[in-house]
């Protein structure tokens, strides 16, 4: 499956949004399937087997987060939530329920396309490549070596663990809870200060200017994201 010519299911009750998405996505070479309600959306997933789902949260019959939860019980199709709800709690809930990404309306179609690419790539091939490169940052996952502009840097185990988790989901938001559980282990979900301090230390080592990070960026109130170029 390539990143072009995807079958995209748009679940949104607003005709204007569906029309806009149809125009934008079709012009990028994708095929658009439309659903107005959560029920129609869920049955469309079973019948049409889309490559990607763009889901609104404010659906007339069922809350979008519940839709994510139900779909995740049997489907791994990437889901991008597209909603007017901009609060961190909503983002966190959607991501924790299993959504791959979250975009708030109003949105730029360019950004949507970029997030779609990331989501589909993660869904199709696991990051088994031993070497990850973005900008000046090179990480050799097999040898556990981190280079900045070719110069080797020294990371603690925790810092490396965070970086590795972010690389595994490069381009996607990882929630605080996800990172804490993966790097420290279960039971650390609420130890936000650990994460904060270690991310700061990590940035000091990998970023040229830690106050304007290029690689490890913060999603306020939600988590962190590793930016790929």
């Amino acid at each position: 499956m390539s990143e072009q010519g995807l079958r995209v299911l748009v679940v949104d009750d607003e005709r204007a949004i569906r029309r806009l998405l149809r125009a934008a996505l079709t012009s990028q070479g994708h095929t658009v399937i439309e659903a107005e309600t959560a029920q129609a959306g869920i049955s469309a997933v079973t019948i049409e087997h889309p490559d990607l789902i763009i889901l609104d949260l404010g659906l007339p019959d069922l809350d979008g987060i519940e839709v994510v939860r139900r779909l995740r019980e049997w489907s791994t199709t990437p889901i991008i939530v597209l909603s007017v709800r901009s609060h961190e709690d909503d983002k966190m809930a959607a991501l924790d329920a299993g959504a791959d990404d979250y975009i708030t309306k109003p949105f730029a179609t360019g950004e949507l396309a970029a997030r779609m690419r990331v989501a589909v790539r993660h869904a199709t091939h696991q990051p088994t490549e031993p070497i990850f490169r973005t900008g000046d940052l090179t990480v050799d996952l097999a040898r556990r070596v981190v280079l900045i502009a070719g110069r080797e840097i020294d990371l603690t185990a925790v810092e490396y663990g965070i970086l590795k988790a972010l690389i595994a989901h490069a381009g996607k938001v990882l929630t605080h809870g996800h990172l804490l559980t993966h790097v420290w282990g279960p039971g650390y979900q609420n130890q936000r200060h650990l994460l904060q301090v270690n991310v700061s230390n990590l940035r000091r080592k990998v970023e040229a200017d830690p106050t304007r990070p290029r690689y490890v960026v913060t999603e306020p109130g939600v988590g962190y994201r590793l930016i790929e170029n």
Binding site: S86, E88, D89, P106, R143, R144, V145, V146, D154, L155, T156, A157, V158, Y160, H176, Q191, R192, H193, L194, Q196, V197, N198, V199, S200, N201, R203, P210, T211, R212, P213, V217, T218, P220, G221
Partner: protein, 906 residues
């Protein structure tokens, strides 16, 4: 000769102005000395005349008592119907205040100023109804008999033998704009009475006969004439003062009333009041609390407290002094307070005591030069309140037993060891015993000890000094000396002790009051005030306490200590107290069957609530008058504090309301401008493209689309701002606090700004070792982004923006400074108000930004300030408390731990 006139006296001008301005309506009182002199007739005559002049006159209430002449005068005058209602099965008629207020005449006629309204009326008394009419700007004509004037009521009772219950405060009469005396010679009045032209209530026939005796009437007539003459005199002086007319001004007189226990107390107060009113002088009621006072029966103490309260009601200042000798204290006080006249009761002490210790009057005359003394005789018979027989306290026998044992033991030791103890030693020992007994057990036992000392001394020494059966005169002298000195020392010592006790008791009361007022001053909320009051009262008086405040339509118990039994019955009592402003319930004369005693929480503005007190156990003794007085003081302190809290809450509500209204109107303006402008740009661009898209070249199309996109973004920002503002205003802002790194906060806000800050030089200066700060990351990022965006927008592109973070005294202080034009000093203070733009120029914001920032920062417990930067530009500071987050040490330890586990990179 205007030039030679004196300058008008400013105080007099003020008095006059106050009288003229204090209320809108004018009050005219038709004053008579008895019923039947023709007040109502004269009043109606005057009203008709006013009506003829074109004044809108309404008869609100007139009692014609079916007299034809009076009824004839009512012809042609509009009459408002009376309010009829049923009370306990009887249909009553009262003045319909609301009807008159609604009718809004220029002049209302209301008969019988002294009338007491039926229960259930708005005001207890008709003069209060009239005050309301006056306050509403309606002139009032009314009638009054001289016997109903408060300060004269006791004189009237003395003259006529009739106790006057319906009295009107003197201020009402004094505050009247005009008083017209309706006079009729007594003989003629009596003739009218016999002709049946004077209204006589049927049930009071004989009493009225007694009342209308020529002697009584002449005395009352004189009283009325004199009273009015004084008022006229005062008016003249006010006039003279206001117009700078020189005259023999009376020097500032000051009257002191010496309150004394006994039925005379209230009389002294009334006399003092009359004297002070005549002289237009300030007056003070002073009571000297002597050690004897503590031995008075409770009823007597109560009477003093009542007299003090009466004095306060009649406009006096009251003082309580402590001392042994009232004359000395009074003179001392009078001299230091420039008192010119003293009113005192005639001494009721036995002649002997007066000769020894001197009477008050003698003392004053001997020790002062310019003070006049008015001596009032003790009233006898009818006007005196029934004297309660002095209740004898049960005598404690134990102290006497102690005195007996000690004095006998010491005294008899002289007989046992005659050779060891010389008579001189024995007298010293005996006196010592008397002093000790007096100090520990008081006067009675001391006197007993003195007598015993003398007796034992006689027994011990007489055998030695008796020569041939004859007692030597020297011994007799010693014996007498011992007895007298013993008695005197005993009395003095016990008195010192009593005074010390009294002082301690007063000290304790003062300390208790002080403790309450200190706690009340510190209390910031109604809840704290109520808790402080109940805590103090229940601990000082060992009572269960409850406070009732008016809730929705009825009194609600808002706080209680212990288990206060608030039954319907008790609620009724509390409600009565709230309505009447008088104490009621247990231990009072009103509704004494109630379980608890209820005190009104009264302030000058009105009644704020009710305090209920209940003995913690039935076995506890009832409160004495001093304690009741103290509790009343507590209640009034509590009332003031509660009023303060209520007013503050009211002010806050009003402020919030005003703020909301202002916001709403500003929002409407904002919507019309800030929402429509970008909408116009979007629709304009899009409709152009739809209608003549084909005719446009690529560059124009691109430009139109870019315009639409920018306008849409602007709309989006505005909607976001409005949503935030609504969350802040609605109190719906919930903080999701989590530890955050300041560098991350700055970095994230800069990356959020994206294109807006690309190319701008931004200097970030974060002090090392700033601990994590516990904040809502998203909100604080928005604050920072907003401030930085403003700085970028308002400063020249080539200048740098400085962001600095420091840890200052437990706070994280973040500063954003630019080199823009700054803000005029006058605007600095108002900035960060809603819809307030500090700077003018090219901007497209609503001015909501800084207000939202302030709201977010303050929700975190921080502050935001704006200053002009030295050397040009604007600096915005905001602080965030650091103690909310975990200390840096704790945050770093787990990291160290994992590090030491040594997972090597290689």
């Amino acid at each position: 000769m205007v030039g030679e006139r004196e300058r008008p006296n400013p105080d007099a001008l003020l008095t006059q102005a106050k009288q003229e301005e204090s209320r809108a309506g004018k009050l005219k009182i038709f004053l008579g000395y008895a019923a039947g002199v023709g007040k109502t007739y004269a009043m109606l005559g005057a009203a008709r005349q006013r009506q003829a002049e074109g004044v809108d006159v309404v008869v609100a209430l007139v009692e014609t008592h079916h007299r034809k002449e009076t009824e004839a005068l009512l012809e042609g005058l509009p009459v408002t119907p009376r309010r009829r209602f049923e009370y306990r099965g009887v249909v009553l008629e009262e003045l319909d205040l609301d009807a008159v207020l609604a009718r809004r005449p220029q002049l209302a006629i209301v008969d019988e100023l002294a009338h007491t309204n039926a229960p259930g009326s708005r005001h207890a008394r008709r003069y209060q109804d009239i005050e309301e009419l006056l306050a509403a700007g309606i002139d009032v004509y009314t009638t009054l008999n001289i016997q109903h004037v408060e300060s004269l009521s006791d004189v009237v009772s003395q003259i006529t033998g009739v106790v006057i219950r319906e009295t009107v405060p003197d201020q009402v009469l004094e505050g009247a704009d005009e008083v017209i005396l309706i006079d009729l010679p007594p003989d003629e009045l009596i003739k009218r009475l016999h002709e049946g032209k004077v209204y006589v209530p049927e049930q009071a026939g004989t009493a009225i006969e007694k009342f209308f005796r020529p002697g009584n009437l002449t005395a009352l007539r004189e009283l009325a004439l004199r009273h009015l003459a004084r008022k006229v005199d005062r008016q003249m002086r006010t006039y003279m003062g206001a117009h700078g007319i020189p005259g023999p001004w009376p020097a500032g007189e000051r009257v002191l009333v010496c309150l004394a226990p006994g039925p005379i107390a209230e009389r002294l107060v009334r006399v003092g009041r009359r004297l002070a009113a005549t002289l237009d002088a300030e007056w003070i009621a002073v009571f000297v609390e002597t050690p004897e006072y503590s031995r008075l029966p409770d009823a007597e103490k109560d009477r003093i407290v009542r007299a003090q309260r009466l004095a306060e009601e009649l406009g006096a200042r009251t003082e309580t002094l402590t001392g042994i000798s009232p004359p000395q204290e009074i003179v001392q006080y009078a001299l230091t307070h420039n008192v010119t006249k003293i009113v005192a009761g005639a001494s009721r002490r036995p002649l002997i005591e007066r000769l020894i210790r001197g009477s008050l009057v003698d003392w004053i005359l001997r020790h002062t030069e310019n003070i006049d003394v008015y001596v009032i005789s003790t009233p006898s018979g009818r006007s005196a309140s029934p004297a309660t027989p002095p209740r004898r306290r049960p005598v404690a026998l134990l102290p006497y037993a102690f005195a007996l044992v000690i004095a006998s033991a010491v005294g008899l030791s002289g007989t046992v060891f005659p050779s060891r103890l010389e008579p001189v030693n024995l007298t010293t020992l005996n006196l010592l015993v008397v002093v000790i007994v007096a100090y520990y057990w008081g006067r009675g036992p001391a006197i007993l000890a003195a007598w015993l000392s003398a007796a034992t001394f006689y027994l011990a020494v007489a055998p030695r000094l008796t020569v041939r059966g004859v007692v030597s005169p020297q011994f007799l002298l010693t014996l007498t000396g011992l007895l007298v000195v013993g008695l005197v020392i005993g009395t003095l010592t016990s008195r010192i002790r009593e005074q010390a006790q009294a002082a301690r008791a007063r000290e304790a009361s003062t300390a208790a009051l002080y403790a309450l007022s200190r706690d009340l001053a510190a209390a910031s909320s109604m809840e704290e005030i109520l808790n402080a009051v109940t805590r103090h009262i229940s601990s000082v008086f060992s009572r269960q306490v409850a406070i009732f405040l008016p809730g929705e339509g009825k009194l609600e118990m808002v706080v209680q200590s212990g288990d206060f039994p608030f039954t319907d019955n008790e609620r009724a009592v509390a409600t009565w107290v709230f309505a009447h402003g008088e104490p009621a319930g247990r231990g009072t004369e009103t509704l004494p069957a109630a379980k608890a005693r209820y005190l009104p929480l009264k302030t000058a503005q009105g009644i704020r609530g009710v305090l209920g007190v209940l003995p913690a156990a039935d076995t506890l003794p009832a409160l004495g008058p001093e304690q009741r007085h103290l509790m009343e003081a507590f209640a009034s302190q509590a009332a003031v504090a509660i009023e303060r809290a209520q007013l503050a809450a009211e002010a806050r509500r009003t402020q919030v309301l005003q703020e909301t209204e202002r916001l709403q109107s500003a929002l409407l303006n904002s919507i019309s401008h800030d929402l429509r402008t970008p909408l116009a740009a979007v629709t304009g661009a899009l409709s152009t493209l739809v209608e003549n898209g084909n005719a446009l070249d690529d560059a124009t199309r691109r430009e139109l689309l870019e315009t639409a996109r920018e306008a849409a973004q602007r709309l989006n920002r505005l909607v976001g701002d409005l949503l935030d503002m609504t969350r802040l205003q609605g109190g719906a802002l919930r903080l999701r606090k989590a530890p955050a790194d300041i560098q991350d906060l700055i970095g994230t806000s800069l990356s959020q700004l994206g294109d807006a800050v690309t190319g701008r030089k931004i200097e970030v200066d974060v002090a090392p070792n700033i601990p994590l700060v516990s904040v809502d990351f998203a909100l604080i990022t928005r604050v920072l982004a907003n401030i930085v965006e403003n700085a970028v927008k308002y400063s020249p592109p080539e200048t740098a923006i400085t962001i600095r973070a420091r840890s200052v005294g437990g706070n994280l202080e973040i500063m954003v400074a630019d080199r823009g034009p700054g803000v005029p000093e006058s605007n600095l203070g108002q900035m960060s108000g809603k819809f307030q733009r500090g700077r003018t120029g090219a901007n497209n914001g609503t001015g909501l930004g800084l207000a939202i920032c302030r709201g977010f920062v303050e929700a975190h417990g921080g502050h935001i300030t704006v200053e002009n930067r030295p050397g040009g530009g604007l600096t915005v500071f905001f602080t965030l408390p650091l103690d909310g987050g975990p200390p840096e040490e704790a945050a770093r330890i787990p990291d160290e731990r994992t590090r030491s586990e040594g997972l090597s990179r290689r």
